[in-house]
Structures are given as C-alpha cells and as structure tokens.
Symmetry: C2
Subunit: 301 residues, 2 copies
C-alpha cells in the first residue's frame, strides 16, 4: 500500500557525551522515510529553504523514497535545531531552534500523492496536521505524533486532530501530560476515548506499549549498549512501524504488534550513530536478525 | 532446597496518592518470606524490639514460613519507617526513620538454619551481610540486595561483600550509582566484574533485566493498572525469585529466567494494596495465571 509522511526536514547540531556534530541532516520526515523505506516505498512531504543543499539528501538516494513532495521555498530558510543529550540520554535539551520555513504555511501535497493509503503526520501544529489529514480522503490508516508544546498550548486543536486520526504515537511524558494520568496503561485508555483506535507509547530505553480496544502489547526494548545519539529514534520507530504496516497492507492485532517490533528495532540502530549514518546503512535483514535476538532475550519461560 | 532470608521486620507508615496507612507490618524479610512461601518453605531471620506485638505476624500464619529465626530483643524497639510515594510512584521519599534495633548487632542465625542452601541477604550494612554469608558455608546460592547509602558511604565494604555472593539484586538507580555507567547493560557487566555470577536490575514499572556471563534477559513488566502502594515490591520480587529457585533446586539459565518471571509477577500483586494485604492472599495459581497473561501481552511477532 502507498505510504506517505508529512514532517520536518532539518539541519541539526547535536551534542552528546560521545561528541558533537554540527549541521547534519535531520528532521522527522527524513528519519521516518529512511526507516520506512526498509519495508515499503515511501512518499516524503516537507519543505526546506533555498539555503538547503539538495546534496544533503545523498543518504536518501537509492532508497525507495520519493522526494517529489519536498518543496524548496524561495526566500525562506531551512529549519534548524540544536540539542544536547546528557546522562541516560532519555531526553534532549533544546539549546537553540530556528523554525524558519516551518513557521510559514505547510508544503502542498502533490496531486499524485493524494491517493496515499497509509499516512503519517509527524509532529507539527495539530491544525496543520488536520489540514493534511483532510487531503487524504482515501487513507486506510492515518497516524500522527505530537509534542508537549501542543498538549500544553493547543489542547482544543489537538483534541480535534485526535478525533480524525486512527492512531497516535507519543512518548511516556507526553502521554502523562495529555491525560494527567501517571499509569501509562490508564493514560493510553484515556487517549483512546479521544478518538484513536490505537496508541503507541514510547518509553525510550524501556521499550514501548501498544494500547488499543482489543490489545495491550508490551514491546521490550532491544538492549543497545552503543548509545551515541538518540535524535530521530522516535521518528524512525514510527517509520519502521508504518513501513511494515504499509507493506502488509493491513492493521490487524498481530500485524500491529509485528510492525511495532520492526519500528522498535530500527530505532535501536539509529541510536548507534550521529544523524542518519547508521540508519542509511541498515538493511531489512539486519532488522530481522536483531529482532530474532530480541525475541530470544525477552523469552519468558 | 532450604531457603533462608535475613532482613528487616518493620512497622511502616505509608502515604500514597491512594491514602495513608499507619503502623502496618513491613520490612524486607516479611515481604520476601511471604513471596517466597508461594513456591518454597522459607526460614526467616530478623530482629524486633520488645514493643513488637507478635500478633502482627498473623498474615504469615498458615504459610510455609519458619519464624524461629526472629529474635525479640529485650530493651530494644522495632525498626520504623515512614515513607511517601507521589507521581508515578517509582521512588519513595523517606519522611522518617527510626532504626532502633537495626542499629544494634544483627540477630543470631539459629544452628538449625546453618545448613540453608539458598540464602538471600536483604539490604543492610554490607559488613553485616558478609558476616551472615560467612555462616552459610553450604549455600549453593547466596544473593544480596543493597542501597544507595552503602554504595555512597561503604563502597569498600560493599565490594568485599560482592566478592562473596553469587548474585546481586538492585534497582536501576543503584546500578547506575555503583558503576557510574548510564547504560544498564553495561552497568550490569561492570558489576559482574566485582564477583557476582548474575545481576538483576529492577526498573519498577519498566520491568527488569538479568545480566550474567551466559545470558541477557529482558523481563517485561506486568502492566498493573491498580497501583496503590509500591512498598515491598523489590523484596517480594526477590522472594518470588529465590522461592522459585529453591523449589527447583537449580540455578541454570532458563530456571533463573523463570524465577525472575515469578518474582516480577508476585511484585505486581504487592503493589495493588497497602502493606502485605494483597501478598498474603495471592496464590501460586494466581501467579501462574498472571504470568500466562504477561507471556501473551509481551509476545513479539
């Protein structure tokens, strides 16, 4: 099934205990697309400024990523993010952000992409997510991400958006903030009441949870020992998950579990390098091998 | 195989978002013994003051718990702890502590208990743990717990103790503090270098990890929705684990995994009530049923 993502394309500067990388490729649509392309062709929608050197997309070349939905906007500048991870590296501290083109109107969806059946709306203003969602009338599966900023400041808009999507992917802190419920299973069930058929709660090094009307799935984490840079892990998780679902063409209980497992394992590669370095090299066979290891490591006897 | 625990017997006052209980039975040896007795007879060693009403042990009656190793010390007062849990209830805030009899010498091991083959040394000063350990020359398995206080202030003593035990059970914060390593798998491997053959790292609501020379096991958490009072969860985890191991009489790779699974599930009951209320009612059949649910909920497809 056709898969599309709307999200950011960024120039990142990242500091971690392992070093610092300046002006590297980042952004939710980039990580998502690379991860999804392991399983399915993917259509990428985003916008950059005229300062963006398209040579930066080299890691996306030779992948099943259609970049025709990337708008290069004259007179605008590309989104830039500068962040730092410390300690257990579970959370990024934003040291600087230049929204630039992301503060302007969203990119147009190319007409040829309107028939997309699986759609992921990466984190952005919930009203913009809904505007994108409106353009995919034939979608079988609309899933979105969100963040603290919208939960705190745009709750009414976010609730409207949750009313039109089928799935929500967010992290544990966001789930607790949205519901004021500390228990994550209860938090997930509260979110289901707002509309989504399923909620995926990402817990970083602790794995993830899937809560739906017919399932509660505890996805164990792959125990990565080489933690270099967590940037993009969440978007890669979503990319691996959506790519697998699009490849299967269905969203039943076991396929959702299998998709989450792929997303989780793909993210375990992303964290092992700065930017998209590891992600652009990993293969579907690598993912299946690591998933086999994880099944054995989490086998409850 | 014979199982013995040395640990505290306490009178607790606990505050959680669900209410407050004053002067209830607690202590590591109590939680451990109740949990272990689901799988194996257990010998309990501890000390109380003359203020301790033995009627408080009513929840231990009719269980396979031998309390002959409980000393009632004349002229001394029982250990008291007053704690509070807030938010996600992952950590207790100690509001008050009266060490009382725990600040004095440890209780004697009854001669009839010296032949114990499986021994758990609950958290106390590492020198006292080692003094206990010395008295169990025939033990097949010596496992201990520890806490931040000893990691920070008695590192030399703790290292000596880790040199004589076979296993260590501690929580994620303690593992990071001990090793100055944020990555828990690496932290576990660092601890193995100090002597233990295996390390169990408890992550509260996120499950637990087993790290040994021949295994890395990711134990998923049972997703408890009813979280009333986490007091005693760690000791019950250890009790369930050690009770199962003693019942099997062996400590191979799969038996250790199976034991951790039982410990983890027993703890999921403890958290559902104040004090030992739920723990004293649970049966081995309840544990197996919940473990079956957990296997299904964490099945990676």
């Amino acid at each position: 099934m056709s898969l599309l993502v709307t999200g950011s394309i960024a120039i990142d500067s990242v500091e971690t205990p392992h070093g610092r990388m300046d002006d590297v490729l980042g952004g939710s649509a980039v990580y998502f697309s690379l991860a999804a392309s392991l399983f399915s062709p993917v259509r990428m929608v985003g916008v950059v400024g005229e300062d963006f050197d398209l040579g930066r997309f080299k890691p996306l070349a030779d992948k099943r990523i259609d970049t025709h939905g990337v708008e290069v906007r004259r007179g605008s500048k590309t989104f830039r993010w500068h962040g730092k991870y410390a300690g257990a590296m579970n959370n990024a501290e934003t040291l600087g952000v230049e929204l630039n083109v992301l503060a302007e109107q969203g990119p147009p969806i190319p007409p040829a992409f309107a028939d997309s059946r699986f759609v992921f709306l990466a984190n952005t203003h919930p009203a913009l997510q809904r505007e994108f969602a409106r353009q995919f009338g034939r979608a079988d599966l609309l899933v979105c991400d969100t963040m603290n900023l919208w939960i705190e400041n745009e709750q009414a808009e976010l609730r409207k958006t949750l009313g039109v999507v089928h799935g929500l992917v967010l992290n544990e802190g966001e789930a607790r903030l949205q519901t004021q419920e500390m228990n994550l299973v209860k938090a997930g069930r509260e979110i289901l009441k707002l509309g989504p058929r399923f909620v995926v709660i990402k817990k970083g090094e602790h794995g993830s949870l899937l809560i739906s009307h017919d399932d509660l799935f505890i996805m164990p984490p792959y125990p990565t020992e080489k933690v270099v840079d967590p940037t993009g892990c969440g978007d890669s998780f979503a990319g691996g998950m959506m790519g697998y679902l699009a490849a299967q063409g269905r969203v039943d209980r076991d396929t959702l579990r299998a998709a989450m497992a792929r997303g989780s394992v793909v993210a375990s590669f992303v964290i092992e390098s700065f930017s998209v370095e590891a992600l652009s090299r990993v293969t579907a066979a690598d993912v299946e091998r690591r998933l086999g290891e994880l099944r054995e490591m989490s086998r409850v006897v």
